[in-house]
């Protein structure tokens, strides 16, 4: 366990000292400030605009960081052969993968918290009254990021290039927001084979719409049962991706 923590720390330090990480974070903060200016144009709905726009920006930039870093997380160390020195230590291979994944998550979640604090300060400044729904939205955005990170790691293990791993991850992220449309198509398609394929896609692709609590917060009602189900779904999906990644990694040659 201590070895996993050592790898988490190593990955965290590597990320927070990476200039690209800071540039993305700075860009997000600038955009949050710009959204404050835009919200003024919204008249009576200014708080709502800042609230929604801010949450979208935070999630989008966290997604960018996790996808690019997730794909590079193992590939960079494989290409540079830096992982040779780690894998020739008396530690199980899965410790390395788990440490790298959780180290990346730790960095991204921390940056999300930092961005949220700035967002909250801006919202409070415009007269927003804090509510539980905001924190639920941020929490589930984080869970969505956890899934995308696990997928990025998984794809990076069997893709031959960074670009293909990146495209696969972004494609799944995109499809993940159209699960209901896929379901609709299944009912409309007459071909049995296509129906089977679409049904497979429907179950394999993560339903990322589940994690969207921005809409729910409109009514001010947070359904505890839904929250619990989505929480179990998100954690299970990430765990399955990581288990498959571990299996691939164990039998990978370097």
């Amino acid at each position: 366990m201590k070895e996993i923590i050592a790898i988490i720390r190593y990955t965290f330090k590597e990320n927070i000292r990476n200039k690209t990480f800071y540039v993305l974070l700075l860009f997000t903060i600038i955009l949050l400030f710009i959204s404050t200016l835009l919200s003024v144009l919204g008249g009576g709905e200014s708080i709502r605009i800042l609230y929604d726009f801010g949450l979208v920006i935070i999630e989008f930039f966290a997604l960018l960081i996790i996808v690019f870093s997730g794909v590079n997380l193992l590939l960079e160390e494989m290409d540079s052969k830096a992982l040779y020195l780690i894998l020739t230590r008396p530690i199980p291979k899965e410790y390395y993968l788990l440490g790298r994944y959780f180290g990346l998550l730790y960095s991204v979640i921390l940056s999300m918290i930092f961005m949220s604090i700035i967002h909250i300060i801006l919202l409070l400044y415009t007269g927003w009254e804090p509510n539980f729904s905001y924190f639920v939205s941020i929490f589930f955005s984080g869970l969505k990021i956890t899934i995308i990170g696990a997928l990025a790691v998984f794809f990076s293990l069997f893709s031959t290039s960074r670009v293909s791993a990146l495209v696969f991850t972004l494609f799944i992220w995109l499809l993940g927001h159209f699960n209901q449309e896929i379901k609709f198509l299944i009912d409309k398609i007459s071909s049995t084979i296509l129906q089977i394929v679409m049904r497979l896609l429907y179950y394999i692709i993560p339903n990322l719409q589940f994690f969207n609590f921005r809409e729910l917060s409109d009514s001010g009602i947070v359904f505890s049962k839904i929250i619990l189900n989505v929480l179990i779904y998100g954690i299970s999906y990430s765990c399955i991706c990581i288990i498959f990644s571990i299996l691939l990694f164990k039998y990978k040659e370097f």
């Binding site: 070895e3 990476n18 830096a82 040779y84 780690i86 894998l87 020739t88 230590r89 040659e253």
Partner: protein, 240 residues
């Protein structure tokens, strides 16, 4: 005592391209034996299978057939890795970390107690001095090599496996590595290293294995190259 032994070690790289399967025999039926406290050099041309052999021993590659034993234990064996210190051909470290952070990280991976004391000891051996507090992106090639050697010594291994340790170094750097290998032998360690620089191998090795096209063609004792130069023996062997 035999520290490292391979029995009919074979590695075939298989790659599929456009539906066609390509096979490349990288290492073919290698039978190696490295004795305790000896310096064993594996020499061969580029692409002769030196790095593949080392990777197979360390478990970075899986053998197609054959067996590897380290200190009598069949590999892969995680516990045996704590007895091996490895130096890759082109050592690479995370460039945003300092030398000390890197060594500290490897100490944690090998469960070394009193890491600070051990880091100080190995830093003195490799003469890295105050450079240990600099970030890796400020390191020269020579400093990187010293840091790489330091990490291989942290857990006080009995067997050192070095892949092309003098590759890309200037004459001063080469001499330092040579002296360092001799120092390690004097401390009772076994050193197994690969190189294509025959002149270097000739100076320090007790025995040499000639690898050519994935096959171990000949094993020579240092007494043999006292009569005839190692270069001549090497050329005779590969041109046969």
């Amino acid at each position: 005592m035999i520290v490292l032994k391979t029995n009919n070690l074979t590695k075939i790289y298989r790659k599929r391209h456009l539906g066609k399967l390509y096979a490349n025999l990288a290492v073919n039926n290698i039978n190696l034996e490295v004795k305790e406290n000896e310096i064993y050099g594996l020499i061969g041309l580029n692409g002769s299978g030196k790095t593949t052999t080392i990777k197979l021993i360390l478990g970075l590659l899986f053998p197609t057939s054959g067996e590897i034993f380290v200190f009598g234990q069949k590999m892969p064996n995680r516990n045996m890795l704590s007895k091996i210190g490895y130096l890759p051909e082109t050592p690479y470290f995370q460039r945003y970390l300092t030398g000390k952070e890197i060594l500290n990280f490897y100490c944690q991976l090998t469960k070394i107690e009193f890491a600070d004391i051990r880091i100080k000891e190995v830093t003195e051996i490799v003469q890295l001095g105050e450079n240990i507090n600099k970030r890796i992106n400020e390191y020269s090639k020579g400093m990187l090599q010293r840091l790489a050697i330091a990490q291989s010594l942290l857990h006080n291994p009995s067997l050192l496996i070095f892949d092309e340790p003098v590759s890309g170094l200037d004459p001063v750097g080469i001499r330092e590595i040579r002296n360092f290998i001799k120092l390690m032998k004097s401390q009772g360690k076994t050193i197994f290293f690969s190189s294509h620089l025959i002149s270097e191998v000739e100076k320090i090795c007790d025995r040499v294995g000639i690898l050519h096209k994935g096959e171990l063609k000949r094993v020579i004792d240092h007494k043999e190259w006292e009569l005839k130069s190692l270069e001549e023996i090497f050329l005779e062997t590969i041109e046969k």
